[in-house]
Protein backbone atom coordinates (compact mmCIF):
# COMPACT_ATOMS: atom_id res chain seq x y z
CA UNK A 1 0.00 0.00 0.00
CA UNK A 2 2.78 2.40 0.94
CA UNK A 3 4.59 1.87 -2.32
CA UNK A 4 1.53 2.52 -4.46
CA UNK A 5 0.58 5.71 -2.62
CA UNK A 6 4.11 7.14 -2.73
CA UNK A 7 4.29 6.90 -6.53
CA UNK A 8 1.26 9.04 -7.32
CA UNK A 9 2.43 11.62 -4.84
CA UNK A 10 5.79 11.82 -6.57
CA UNK A 11 4.10 12.15 -9.96
CA UNK A 12 1.74 14.77 -8.59
CA UNK A 13 4.61 16.80 -7.20
CA UNK A 14 6.49 16.67 -10.48
CA UNK A 15 3.45 18.00 -12.37
CA UNK A 16 2.69 20.70 -9.81
CA UNK A 17 6.35 21.75 -9.87
CA UNK A 18 6.02 22.33 -13.62
CA UNK A 19 3.04 24.60 -13.09
CA UNK A 20 4.72 26.58 -10.34
CA UNK A 21 7.67 27.79 -12.44
CA UNK A 22 7.66 31.44 -13.39
CA UNK A 23 5.57 31.98 -16.49
CA UNK A 24 6.15 35.66 -17.17
CA UNK A 25 7.24 36.60 -20.67
CA UNK A 26 10.54 38.41 -21.17
CA UNK A 27 11.44 41.54 -23.10
CA UNK A 28 9.98 41.32 -26.64
CA UNK A 29 13.05 43.21 -27.88
CA UNK A 30 15.01 39.94 -27.70
CA UNK A 31 12.73 38.39 -30.29
CA UNK A 32 12.72 40.99 -33.07
CA UNK A 33 14.60 40.37 -36.26
CA UNK A 34 16.25 37.41 -37.96
CA UNK A 35 17.66 35.66 -34.89
CA UNK A 36 15.16 35.80 -32.00
CA UNK A 37 15.98 34.46 -28.55
CA UNK A 38 14.21 31.11 -28.13
CA UNK A 39 13.84 29.74 -24.58
CA UNK A 40 13.34 25.99 -24.06
CA UNK A 41 9.73 24.86 -24.57
CA UNK A 42 7.57 24.21 -21.51
CA UNK A 43 4.49 22.17 -20.65
CA UNK A 44 1.74 23.57 -18.46
CA UNK A 45 -1.20 22.32 -16.44
CA UNK A 46 -2.83 25.64 -17.15
CA UNK A 47 -1.13 27.72 -19.85
CA UNK A 48 -0.42 31.25 -18.59
CA UNK A 49 -3.14 33.61 -19.72
CA UNK A 50 -3.77 37.28 -19.34
CA UNK A 51 -7.08 38.26 -20.83
CA UNK A 52 -7.80 41.99 -20.98
CA UNK A 53 -11.45 42.96 -20.76
CA UNK A 54 -12.88 44.54 -23.92
CA UNK A 55 -14.43 47.91 -23.05
CA UNK A 56 -14.46 49.79 -26.37
CA UNK A 57 -13.84 53.53 -26.80
CA UNK A 58 -15.70 56.33 -25.02
CA UNK A 59 -16.69 59.35 -27.08
CA UNK A 60 -13.58 61.30 -28.03
CA UNK A 61 -11.13 58.54 -27.14
CA UNK A 62 -8.80 57.38 -29.91
CA UNK A 63 -5.66 55.32 -30.26
CA UNK A 64 -2.35 57.18 -30.10
CA UNK A 65 -0.23 57.78 -33.19
CA UNK A 66 3.53 58.28 -33.48
CA UNK A 67 4.94 61.83 -33.40
CA UNK A 68 3.81 63.97 -36.34
CA UNK A 69 0.69 61.87 -36.94
CA UNK A 70 -2.92 62.29 -35.90
CA UNK A 71 -5.77 59.79 -35.51
CA UNK A 72 -9.47 60.27 -36.20
CA UNK A 73 -12.40 57.91 -36.52
CA UNK A 74 -13.43 57.46 -40.15
CA UNK A 75 -16.37 55.13 -39.52
CA UNK A 76 -17.87 53.79 -36.30
CA UNK A 77 -20.57 51.32 -35.33
CA UNK A 78 -19.37 48.65 -37.74
CA UNK A 79 -19.98 44.91 -37.19
CA UNK A 80 -16.55 43.44 -36.40
CA UNK A 81 -14.53 45.14 -39.19
CA UNK A 82 -11.50 43.07 -40.18
CA UNK A 83 -10.12 43.79 -43.67
CA UNK A 84 -9.77 47.15 -45.44
CA UNK A 85 -9.22 47.71 -49.14
CA UNK A 86 -8.85 50.92 -51.13
CA UNK A 87 -10.27 50.91 -54.66
CA UNK A 88 -8.70 52.95 -57.49
CA UNK A 89 -11.54 55.53 -57.32
CA UNK A 90 -10.73 56.21 -53.65
CA UNK A 91 -13.66 54.22 -52.24
CA UNK A 92 -12.81 52.14 -49.21
CA UNK A 93 -14.17 48.66 -48.60
CA UNK A 94 -14.57 47.40 -45.04
CA UNK A 95 -15.01 43.65 -44.61
CA UNK A 96 -17.17 43.10 -41.52
CA UNK A 97 -16.73 39.51 -40.51
CA UNK A 98 -15.89 36.88 -37.93
CA UNK A 99 -15.35 33.13 -37.88
CA UNK A 100 -18.29 30.84 -38.73
CA UNK A 101 -18.24 29.49 -35.18
CA UNK A 102 -17.65 25.90 -34.20
CA UNK A 103 -19.03 23.50 -31.63
CA UNK A 104 -16.82 22.69 -28.64
CA UNK A 105 -14.83 19.52 -29.26
CA UNK A 106 -13.08 19.19 -25.92
CA UNK A 107 -13.78 20.28 -22.33
CA UNK A 108 -11.19 23.06 -22.73
CA UNK A 109 -13.12 24.56 -25.66
CA UNK A 110 -15.81 25.77 -23.23
CA UNK A 111 -13.18 27.74 -21.32
CA UNK A 112 -11.60 29.03 -24.55
CA UNK A 113 -15.03 30.32 -25.63
CA UNK A 114 -15.42 32.28 -22.39
CA UNK A 115 -11.93 33.76 -22.78
CA UNK A 116 -12.66 34.89 -26.33
CA UNK A 117 -15.92 36.51 -25.29
CA UNK A 118 -14.20 38.50 -22.53
CA UNK A 119 -11.55 39.76 -24.94
CA UNK A 120 -14.20 40.86 -27.42
CA UNK A 121 -13.29 38.26 -30.05
CA UNK A 122 -16.57 36.35 -29.88
CA UNK A 123 -18.74 39.04 -31.47
CA UNK A 124 -20.75 38.12 -34.53
CA UNK A 125 -19.40 39.48 -37.80
CA UNK A 126 -21.54 41.30 -40.33
CA UNK A 127 -20.70 38.82 -43.12
CA UNK A 128 -20.79 41.79 -45.47
CA UNK A 129 -18.66 44.44 -47.10
CA UNK A 130 -19.39 48.10 -46.44
CA UNK A 131 -18.37 50.83 -48.89
CA UNK A 132 -17.15 54.25 -47.74
CA UNK A 133 -17.10 56.92 -50.44
CA UNK A 134 -15.78 60.47 -50.42
CA UNK A 135 -13.15 59.92 -47.75
CA UNK A 136 -10.27 61.97 -49.13
CA UNK A 137 -9.05 64.83 -47.00
CA UNK A 138 -10.03 65.09 -43.37
CA UNK A 139 -13.79 64.75 -43.76
CA UNK A 140 -16.05 61.88 -42.89
CA UNK A 141 -17.18 59.66 -45.74
CA UNK A 142 -19.97 61.29 -47.70
CA UNK A 143 -21.56 57.93 -48.40
CA UNK A 144 -21.70 54.66 -46.50
CA UNK A 145 -23.56 51.70 -48.00
CA UNK A 146 -23.62 47.94 -47.71
CA UNK A 147 -21.71 47.01 -50.85
CA UNK A 148 -21.94 43.20 -50.78
CA UNK A 149 -24.12 41.34 -48.28
CA UNK A 150 -24.72 37.71 -47.26
CA UNK A 151 -21.12 36.55 -47.46
CA UNK A 152 -19.73 33.60 -45.47
CA UNK A 153 -16.95 34.71 -43.12
CA UNK A 154 -15.21 36.80 -45.82
CA UNK A 155 -11.66 38.05 -45.23
CA UNK A 156 -9.34 38.66 -48.19
CA UNK A 157 -10.33 41.05 -50.96
CA UNK A 158 -8.55 42.17 -54.11
CA UNK A 159 -9.52 43.95 -57.34
CA UNK A 160 -8.01 42.79 -60.62
CA UNK A 161 -9.18 44.75 -63.66
CA UNK A 162 -12.95 45.00 -63.30
CA UNK A 163 -13.34 41.90 -61.17
CA UNK A 164 -13.50 42.07 -57.40
CA UNK A 165 -12.38 38.86 -55.68
CA UNK A 166 -13.62 38.11 -52.18
CA UNK A 167 -12.21 35.20 -50.17
CA UNK A 168 -15.01 33.72 -48.09
CA UNK A 169 -13.78 31.14 -45.63
CA UNK A 170 -14.79 28.33 -48.01
CA UNK A 171 -14.33 29.79 -51.51
CA UNK A 172 -13.09 32.68 -53.63
CA UNK A 173 -16.00 34.56 -55.19
CA UNK A 174 -15.70 36.86 -58.21
CA UNK A 175 -17.94 39.94 -58.58
CA UNK A 176 -18.20 42.29 -61.55
CA UNK A 177 -17.01 45.68 -60.33
CA UNK A 178 -18.32 49.00 -61.60
CA UNK A 179 -16.57 52.04 -60.05
CA UNK A 180 -19.87 53.93 -59.85
CA UNK A 181 -21.80 51.17 -58.10
CA UNK A 182 -22.78 51.54 -54.47
CA UNK A 183 -24.13 48.03 -54.13
CA UNK A 184 -23.54 44.66 -55.78
CA UNK A 185 -26.60 42.43 -55.63
CA UNK A 186 -25.68 39.75 -58.14
CA UNK A 187 -24.27 36.68 -56.39
CA UNK A 188 -20.56 36.10 -56.80
CA UNK A 189 -19.26 33.47 -59.20
CA UNK A 190 -17.13 30.85 -57.48
CA UNK A 191 -13.55 30.82 -58.75
CA UNK A 192 -12.15 28.14 -56.43
CA UNK A 193 -12.97 26.26 -53.25
CA UNK A 194 -10.86 26.91 -50.17
CA UNK A 195 -10.30 24.53 -47.23
CA UNK A 196 -13.02 25.16 -44.63
CA UNK A 197 -15.17 22.30 -43.31
CA UNK A 198 -17.04 21.82 -40.07
CA UNK A 199 -14.17 22.69 -37.74
CA UNK A 200 -12.49 25.62 -39.60
CA UNK A 201 -10.35 26.61 -36.61
CA UNK A 202 -8.23 29.32 -38.29
CA UNK A 203 -10.88 30.59 -40.66
CA UNK A 204 -9.38 33.76 -42.19
CA UNK A 205 -8.41 33.59 -45.88
CA UNK A 206 -6.02 36.45 -46.53
CA UNK A 207 -5.54 37.22 -50.21
CA UNK A 208 -3.49 39.27 -52.65
CA UNK A 209 -2.82 39.26 -56.38
CA UNK A 210 0.42 39.18 -58.35
CA UNK A 211 1.47 42.45 -60.02
CA UNK A 212 0.30 41.25 -63.44
CA UNK A 213 -2.99 40.03 -61.99
CA UNK A 214 -2.60 36.50 -63.35
CA UNK A 215 -2.40 34.76 -59.99
CA UNK A 216 -4.09 35.09 -56.60
CA UNK A 217 -2.32 34.12 -53.40
CA UNK A 218 -4.36 32.95 -50.41
CA UNK A 219 -3.21 32.26 -46.85
CA UNK A 220 -4.98 29.27 -45.27
CA UNK A 221 -4.52 28.66 -41.53
CA UNK A 222 -4.19 25.35 -39.70
CA UNK A 223 -7.22 23.61 -38.23
CA UNK A 224 -5.74 23.50 -34.71
CA UNK A 225 -3.05 24.91 -32.48
CA UNK A 226 -0.75 21.92 -32.93
CA UNK A 227 -2.67 19.02 -34.60
CA UNK A 228 -4.84 18.33 -31.54
CA UNK A 229 -7.82 17.89 -33.86
CA UNK A 230 -6.09 15.12 -35.80
CA UNK A 231 -3.94 15.11 -38.90
CA UNK A 232 -6.76 14.38 -41.35
CA UNK A 233 -8.36 17.81 -40.80
CA UNK A 234 -5.00 19.46 -41.59
CA UNK A 235 -5.06 18.25 -45.17
CA UNK A 236 -4.28 21.26 -47.39
CA UNK A 237 -4.13 23.67 -44.47
CA UNK A 238 -1.36 25.80 -42.88
CA UNK A 239 -0.35 26.75 -46.41
CA UNK A 240 -0.28 29.54 -48.94
CA UNK A 241 -2.10 28.75 -52.18
CA UNK A 242 -1.48 30.05 -55.65
CA UNK A 243 -4.67 30.24 -57.71
CA UNK A 244 -4.79 30.87 -61.41
CA UNK A 245 -7.16 33.78 -61.85
CA UNK A 246 -8.60 32.67 -65.17
CA UNK A 247 -9.06 28.94 -64.60
CA UNK A 248 -9.35 28.75 -60.82
CA UNK A 249 -6.71 26.00 -60.80
CA UNK A 250 -4.92 26.00 -57.45
CA UNK A 251 -1.77 24.60 -55.98
CA UNK A 252 -0.01 24.82 -52.67
CA UNK A 253 2.65 27.49 -53.16
CA UNK A 254 4.26 27.10 -49.71
CA UNK A 255 3.40 25.06 -46.61
CA UNK A 256 4.14 24.75 -42.90
CA UNK A 257 2.90 28.31 -42.30
CA UNK A 258 0.64 27.78 -39.26
CA UNK A 259 -1.67 30.75 -39.79
CA UNK A 260 -0.64 33.09 -42.62
CA UNK A 261 -3.04 35.94 -41.83
CA UNK A 262 -1.55 38.52 -44.15
CA UNK A 263 0.01 38.14 -47.61
CA UNK A 264 1.44 40.96 -49.74
CA UNK A 265 4.01 41.60 -52.46
CA UNK A 266 7.03 43.74 -51.65
CA UNK A 267 6.72 46.56 -54.25
CA UNK A 268 10.43 46.85 -55.15
CA UNK A 269 11.31 43.19 -55.69
CA UNK A 270 7.79 41.76 -56.26
CA UNK A 271 8.66 39.12 -53.69
CA UNK A 272 5.70 37.58 -51.82
CA UNK A 273 5.78 38.13 -48.05
CA UNK A 274 3.50 36.84 -45.30
CA UNK A 275 2.91 37.43 -41.61
CA UNK A 276 2.36 34.16 -39.77
CA UNK A 277 0.85 33.43 -36.35
CA UNK A 278 2.86 30.74 -34.62
CA UNK A 279 1.86 28.06 -32.08
CA UNK A 280 0.75 28.48 -28.46
CA UNK A 281 0.99 26.82 -25.06
CA UNK A 282 4.72 26.09 -24.87
CA UNK A 283 5.65 29.33 -23.14
CA UNK A 284 5.10 33.09 -23.10
CA UNK A 285 8.16 33.57 -25.33
CA UNK A 286 7.42 30.74 -27.74
CA UNK A 287 6.95 30.78 -30.59
CA UNK A 288 7.70 34.21 -32.11
CA UNK A 289 5.19 35.20 -34.77
CA UNK A 290 7.01 36.20 -37.93
CA UNK A 291 7.27 38.13 -41.16
CA UNK A 292 8.92 36.20 -43.96
CA UNK A 293 9.44 36.07 -47.68
CA UNK A 294 7.66 33.05 -49.12
CA UNK A 295 9.68 30.76 -51.34
CA UNK A 296 7.82 28.66 -53.92
CA UNK A 297 7.60 25.13 -52.54
CA UNK A 298 9.02 26.26 -49.21
CA UNK A 299 8.14 24.46 -45.96
CA UNK A 300 8.11 26.63 -42.83
CA UNK A 301 7.93 23.97 -40.12
CA UNK A 302 4.38 23.66 -38.83
CA UNK A 303 3.47 21.39 -37.17
CA UNK A 304 6.67 19.42 -36.75
CA UNK A 305 9.07 22.22 -35.90
CA UNK A 306 9.32 25.96 -35.34
CA UNK A 307 11.85 28.65 -36.29
CA UNK A 308 13.63 26.20 -38.54
CA UNK A 309 14.40 22.89 -36.92
CA UNK A 310 13.21 23.32 -33.30
CA UNK A 311 11.11 20.16 -32.89
CA UNK A 312 7.67 20.38 -31.28
CA UNK A 313 7.26 17.21 -29.20
CA UNK A 314 3.48 17.58 -29.11
CA UNK A 315 3.27 16.25 -32.66
CA UNK A 316 3.24 12.49 -33.12
CA UNK A 317 4.48 10.81 -35.18
CA UNK A 318 7.32 13.19 -35.96
CA UNK A 319 8.73 13.82 -39.44
CA UNK A 320 12.51 14.38 -39.20
CA UNK A 321 12.67 14.48 -43.00
CA UNK A 322 10.41 17.56 -43.07
CA UNK A 323 12.09 19.16 -40.04
CA UNK A 324 15.38 18.98 -41.96
CA UNK A 325 13.81 21.02 -44.80
CA UNK A 326 12.10 23.60 -42.59
CA UNK A 327 12.97 27.17 -43.59
CA UNK A 328 13.88 29.68 -40.90
CA UNK A 329 11.63 32.75 -41.20
CA UNK A 330 13.21 36.11 -42.10
CA UNK A 331 12.10 38.30 -39.22
CA UNK A 332 10.72 37.63 -35.71
CA UNK A 333 7.93 39.89 -34.43
CA UNK A 334 8.12 38.50 -30.84
CA UNK A 335 5.71 36.00 -29.32
CA UNK A 336 1.89 35.98 -29.34
CA UNK A 337 1.51 39.45 -30.89
CA UNK A 338 -0.92 37.98 -33.47
CA UNK A 339 0.06 39.87 -36.63
CA UNK A 340 -3.09 40.05 -38.77
CA UNK A 341 -2.36 42.40 -41.61
CA UNK A 342 0.65 43.16 -43.77
CA UNK A 343 0.72 46.35 -45.81
CA UNK A 344 3.71 47.68 -47.75
CA UNK A 345 4.28 51.43 -47.66
CA UNK A 346 3.93 53.43 -50.87
CA UNK A 347 6.15 56.40 -50.18
CA UNK A 348 6.52 59.30 -47.80
CA UNK A 349 2.86 60.39 -47.53
CA UNK A 350 2.66 59.54 -43.86
CA UNK A 351 6.22 60.31 -42.83
CA UNK A 352 9.72 59.98 -44.30
CA UNK A 353 10.33 57.40 -41.57
CA UNK A 354 7.67 55.16 -43.08
CA UNK A 355 8.67 55.46 -46.73
CA UNK A 356 10.07 52.01 -47.36
CA UNK A 357 8.86 49.02 -45.40
CA UNK A 358 5.80 47.26 -44.07
CA UNK A 359 3.03 48.19 -41.65
CA UNK A 360 1.90 45.25 -39.54
CA UNK A 361 -1.14 45.22 -37.24
CA UNK A 362 -0.76 43.24 -34.05
CA UNK A 363 -4.15 42.07 -32.80
CA UNK A 364 -2.59 41.20 -29.42
CA UNK A 365 -2.11 38.25 -27.10
CA UNK A 366 -4.16 36.65 -24.37
CA UNK A 367 -1.88 33.69 -23.79
CA UNK A 368 1.00 35.73 -22.51
CA UNK A 369 1.72 37.88 -19.48
CA UNK A 370 2.62 40.70 -19.77
CA UNK A 371 0.42 41.38 -22.79
CA UNK A 372 2.15 41.78 -26.15
CA UNK A 373 1.01 43.37 -29.42
CA UNK A 374 -2.11 45.60 -29.51
CA UNK A 375 -0.43 48.06 -31.86
CA UNK A 376 0.43 48.82 -35.45
CA UNK A 377 4.16 48.65 -36.12
CA UNK A 378 6.41 49.56 -39.03
CA UNK A 379 9.31 47.38 -40.15
CA UNK A 380 11.81 49.10 -42.42
CA UNK A 381 13.00 47.35 -45.58
CA UNK A 382 16.33 47.75 -47.37
CA UNK A 383 16.86 46.08 -50.75
CA UNK A 384 13.61 44.20 -50.33
CA UNK A 385 14.52 42.70 -46.93
CA UNK A 386 13.23 43.61 -43.44
CA UNK A 387 15.89 45.33 -41.30
CA UNK A 388 16.28 46.90 -37.86
CA UNK A 389 13.74 46.94 -35.03
CA UNK A 390 10.01 47.55 -35.48
CA UNK A 391 8.77 51.07 -34.72
CA UNK A 392 5.32 51.56 -33.11
CA UNK A 393 3.02 53.61 -35.36
CA UNK A 394 -0.37 53.36 -33.65
CA UNK A 395 -0.65 52.40 -29.96
CA UNK A 396 -3.04 53.04 -27.07
CA UNK A 397 -5.39 50.17 -27.88
CA UNK A 398 -4.72 48.82 -24.41
CA UNK A 399 -5.89 50.73 -21.35
CA UNK A 400 -3.16 52.20 -19.17
CA UNK A 401 -3.98 49.63 -16.49
CA UNK A 402 -3.06 46.88 -18.99
CA UNK A 403 -6.29 45.13 -17.91
CA UNK A 404 -8.76 46.65 -20.31
CA UNK A 405 -8.67 46.83 -24.07
CA UNK A 406 -10.38 49.60 -26.03
CA UNK A 407 -9.71 48.17 -29.44
CA UNK A 408 -7.69 45.63 -31.38
CA UNK A 409 -6.11 46.55 -34.72
CA UNK A 410 -6.73 44.23 -37.66
CA UNK A 411 -6.98 45.31 -41.29
CA UNK A 412 -4.69 47.97 -42.77
CA UNK A 413 -4.92 50.02 -45.96
CA UNK A 414 -3.63 53.30 -47.35
CA UNK A 415 -6.28 55.65 -48.63
CA UNK A 416 -5.72 57.57 -51.86
CA UNK A 417 -4.11 60.47 -49.97
CA UNK A 418 -1.61 58.11 -48.34
CA UNK A 419 -3.19 58.10 -44.89
CA UNK A 420 -3.07 54.81 -43.00
CA UNK A 421 -6.44 53.20 -42.26
CA UNK A 422 -6.73 50.76 -39.37
CA UNK A 423 -9.75 48.50 -38.78
CA UNK A 424 -10.50 47.89 -35.09
CA UNK A 425 -12.71 44.86 -34.46
CA UNK A 426 -13.33 45.52 -30.75
CA UNK A 427 -13.96 49.27 -31.09
CA UNK A 428 -15.91 48.49 -34.31
CA UNK A 429 -14.25 51.51 -35.85
CA UNK A 430 -12.04 52.37 -38.82
CA UNK A 431 -9.30 54.77 -37.74
CA UNK A 432 -7.56 57.14 -40.13
CA UNK A 433 -3.96 58.04 -39.32
CA UNK A 434 -2.53 60.97 -41.25
CA UNK A 435 0.32 63.49 -41.07
CA UNK A 436 -0.40 66.43 -38.74
CA UNK A 437 0.98 68.78 -41.39
CA UNK A 438 0.22 67.46 -44.87
CA UNK A 439 3.17 67.40 -47.20
CA UNK A 440 5.76 67.82 -44.45
Amino acid sequence: MKATSARPIAALLSVVALAACSSKGGDPNRQYGPDPYLPPPRAYLMPPMSVPKAVGWKAGETPTAAAGLKVEALATGLEHPRTLYTLPNGDILVVETNGPGTEPFRPKDFIAGKVKARAGAGAKGGNRITLLRGVDGDGKPALRTVFIDHLYSPYGIVLVGDTLYVADTDAILAFNYDPGATRITSPGVKLADLPAGRLDHHWTKSMTASADGSKLYVGVGSNSNITENGMDVEDGRAAIYEIDRLTGAKRIFASGTRNPTGVAFEPQTHQLFAVVNERDEIGPDLVPDYLTSIRPGGFYGWPYSYWGSHVDVRVHPQRPDLVAQAIKPDYGLSSHVAPLSLLFSEGEHLSPDFAKGAFISEHGSWDRSPLNGYQVIFVSFTDGRPVGKPVPVVTGFLGEDNETVHGRPVGLALDRSGALLVADDVGNTVWRVSATQPGS
Binding site: S5, P8, A11, L12, A43, Y44, M46, R106, T227, R314
Partner: protein
Protein backbone atom coordinates in the same frame (compact mmCIF):
# COMPACT_ATOMS: atom_id res chain seq x y z
CA UNK B 1 -29.56 -3.06 25.28
CA UNK B 2 -26.05 -4.22 24.37
CA UNK B 3 -24.23 -3.00 21.30
CA UNK B 4 -24.59 -6.40 19.74
CA UNK B 5 -28.34 -6.25 20.20
CA UNK B 6 -28.43 -2.88 18.57
CA UNK B 7 -26.51 -4.10 15.56
CA UNK B 8 -28.72 -7.14 15.32
CA UNK B 9 -31.84 -5.01 15.34
CA UNK B 10 -30.42 -2.70 12.72
CA UNK B 11 -29.46 -5.52 10.42
CA UNK B 12 -32.89 -7.03 10.61
CA UNK B 13 -34.99 -3.92 10.25
CA UNK B 14 -34.18 -0.29 9.75
CA UNK B 15 -30.65 -0.47 8.32
CA UNK B 16 -31.51 -2.76 5.46
CA UNK B 17 -33.91 -0.17 4.08
CA UNK B 18 -31.36 2.63 4.28
CA UNK B 19 -28.46 1.64 2.00
CA UNK B 20 -25.48 3.99 1.59
CA UNK B 21 -26.31 6.49 -1.15
CA UNK B 22 -22.79 7.19 -2.41
CA UNK B 23 -21.72 3.67 -3.35
CA UNK B 24 -23.33 3.16 -6.75
CA UNK B 25 -22.66 6.69 -7.87
CA UNK B 26 -19.01 6.35 -6.91
CA UNK B 27 -18.82 3.09 -8.85
CA UNK B 28 -20.18 4.87 -11.93
CA UNK B 29 -17.73 7.80 -11.63
CA UNK B 30 -14.81 5.45 -11.06
CA UNK B 31 -15.79 3.44 -14.14
CA UNK B 32 -15.43 6.59 -16.26
CA UNK B 33 -12.04 7.41 -14.76
CA UNK B 34 -10.80 3.84 -15.29
CA UNK B 35 -12.08 3.93 -18.87
CA UNK B 36 -9.90 7.01 -19.46
CA UNK B 37 -6.85 4.82 -18.86
CA UNK B 38 -8.06 2.42 -21.55
CA UNK B 39 -8.61 5.24 -24.08
CA UNK B 40 -5.20 6.72 -23.17
CA UNK B 41 -3.63 3.33 -23.94
CA UNK B 42 -5.42 3.24 -27.29
CA UNK B 43 -4.22 6.76 -28.11
CA UNK B 44 -0.69 5.74 -27.13
CA UNK B 45 -0.73 2.88 -29.61
CA UNK B 46 -2.66 4.57 -32.47
CA UNK B 47 -1.96 8.35 -32.11
CA UNK B 48 -5.54 8.89 -33.34
CA UNK B 49 -6.71 12.14 -31.74
CA UNK B 50 -10.26 10.97 -31.02
CA UNK B 51 -8.97 8.60 -28.32
CA UNK B 52 -7.27 11.49 -26.50
CA UNK B 53 -10.52 13.42 -26.92
CA UNK B 54 -12.45 10.52 -25.32
CA UNK B 55 -9.98 10.54 -22.42
CA UNK B 56 -10.45 14.26 -21.79
CA UNK B 57 -14.25 13.88 -21.70
CA UNK B 58 -14.12 10.68 -19.59
CA UNK B 59 -11.91 12.32 -16.98
CA UNK B 60 -14.09 15.44 -16.85
CA UNK B 61 -17.31 13.40 -16.57
CA UNK B 62 -15.68 11.01 -14.08
CA UNK B 63 -14.70 13.91 -11.85
CA UNK B 64 -18.20 15.39 -11.94
CA UNK B 65 -19.86 12.05 -11.07
CA UNK B 66 -17.28 11.43 -8.32
CA UNK B 67 -18.00 14.88 -6.91
CA UNK B 68 -21.70 13.94 -6.78
CA UNK B 69 -20.69 10.78 -4.90
CA UNK B 70 -18.77 12.94 -2.42
CA UNK B 71 -21.88 15.01 -1.78
CA UNK B 72 -23.91 11.83 -1.30
CA UNK B 73 -21.29 10.59 1.19
CA UNK B 74 -21.86 13.77 3.20
CA UNK B 75 -25.61 13.13 3.05
CA UNK B 76 -25.06 9.53 4.15
CA UNK B 77 -23.16 10.86 7.12
CA UNK B 78 -25.61 13.67 7.93
CA UNK B 79 -28.61 11.39 7.82
CA UNK B 80 -27.04 8.90 10.18
CA UNK B 81 -26.52 6.13 7.64
CA UNK B 82 -22.82 5.84 8.48
CA UNK B 83 -20.90 5.01 11.62
CA UNK B 84 -17.29 5.73 10.72
CA UNK B 85 -15.09 6.38 7.70
CA UNK B 86 -13.69 3.41 5.81
CA UNK B 87 -10.26 5.04 5.95
CA UNK B 88 -8.38 2.89 3.42
CA UNK B 89 -11.08 3.04 0.73
CA UNK B 90 -11.64 6.74 1.35
CA UNK B 91 -7.93 7.51 0.96
CA UNK B 92 -7.69 5.41 -2.21
CA UNK B 93 -10.59 7.25 -3.82
CA UNK B 94 -9.48 10.66 -2.57
CA UNK B 95 -5.98 10.13 -4.02
CA UNK B 96 -7.45 8.92 -7.32
CA UNK B 97 -9.75 11.95 -7.49
CA UNK B 98 -6.87 14.33 -6.82
CA UNK B 99 -4.70 12.66 -9.48
CA UNK B 100 -7.60 12.79 -11.93
CA UNK B 101 -8.10 16.48 -11.26
CA UNK B 102 -4.46 17.13 -12.18
CA UNK B 103 -4.93 14.78 -15.11
CA UNK B 104 -7.88 16.82 -16.41
CA UNK B 105 -5.46 19.73 -16.78
CA UNK B 106 -2.75 17.55 -18.33
CA UNK B 107 -5.34 16.31 -20.82
CA UNK B 108 -6.18 19.91 -21.72
CA UNK B 109 -2.77 20.16 -23.37
CA UNK B 110 -2.65 19.76 -27.10
CA UNK B 111 -2.01 16.61 -29.13
CA UNK B 112 0.57 14.03 -27.99
CA UNK B 113 1.54 15.99 -24.86
CA UNK B 114 -2.02 15.67 -23.50
CA UNK B 115 -1.41 11.93 -22.93
CA UNK B 116 2.27 11.04 -23.16
CA UNK B 117 3.94 10.72 -20.74
CA UNK B 118 2.24 12.38 -17.74
CA UNK B 119 -1.39 11.91 -18.76
CA UNK B 120 -1.25 8.16 -19.23
CA UNK B 121 0.83 7.77 -16.05
CA UNK B 122 -1.78 9.65 -14.02
CA UNK B 123 -4.61 7.65 -15.66
CA UNK B 124 -2.84 4.39 -14.82
CA UNK B 125 -2.24 5.32 -11.18
CA UNK B 126 -5.79 6.50 -10.63
CA UNK B 127 -7.17 3.36 -12.33
CA UNK B 128 -5.08 1.14 -10.01
CA UNK B 129 -6.23 3.00 -6.89
CA UNK B 130 -9.86 2.86 -7.99
CA UNK B 131 -9.73 -0.84 -8.86
CA UNK B 132 -8.43 -1.55 -5.33
CA UNK B 133 -11.23 0.59 -3.88
CA UNK B 134 -13.67 -1.30 -6.09
CA UNK B 135 -12.39 -4.66 -4.89
CA UNK B 136 -13.03 -3.38 -1.37
CA UNK B 137 -16.69 -2.74 -2.22
CA UNK B 138 -16.88 1.00 -3.10
CA UNK B 139 -18.07 1.98 0.41
CA UNK B 140 -16.20 4.95 1.80
CA UNK B 141 -17.86 4.60 5.20
CA UNK B 142 -19.27 1.85 7.39
CA UNK B 143 -23.03 1.56 7.47
CA UNK B 144 -24.35 2.47 10.90
CA UNK B 145 -27.12 -0.10 10.71
CA UNK B 146 -25.04 -3.18 9.98
CA UNK B 147 -21.56 -2.05 10.93
CA UNK B 148 -20.24 -3.51 7.69
CA UNK B 149 -19.34 -1.65 4.55
CA UNK B 150 -22.20 -2.75 2.37
Amino acid sequence: MTRQDEQMRGSIGHGRQRPLLHRRVLAAGAALLIAAFVTDCTYYTTALWQWANFSAWLITAGLIVTAVAAVLLLIDSATGRTSRLNTISFNLVAAAALLSLVNAFVHSRDAWASVVPQGILLSALSAILLLIAGARGWSLAMSRATGDDK
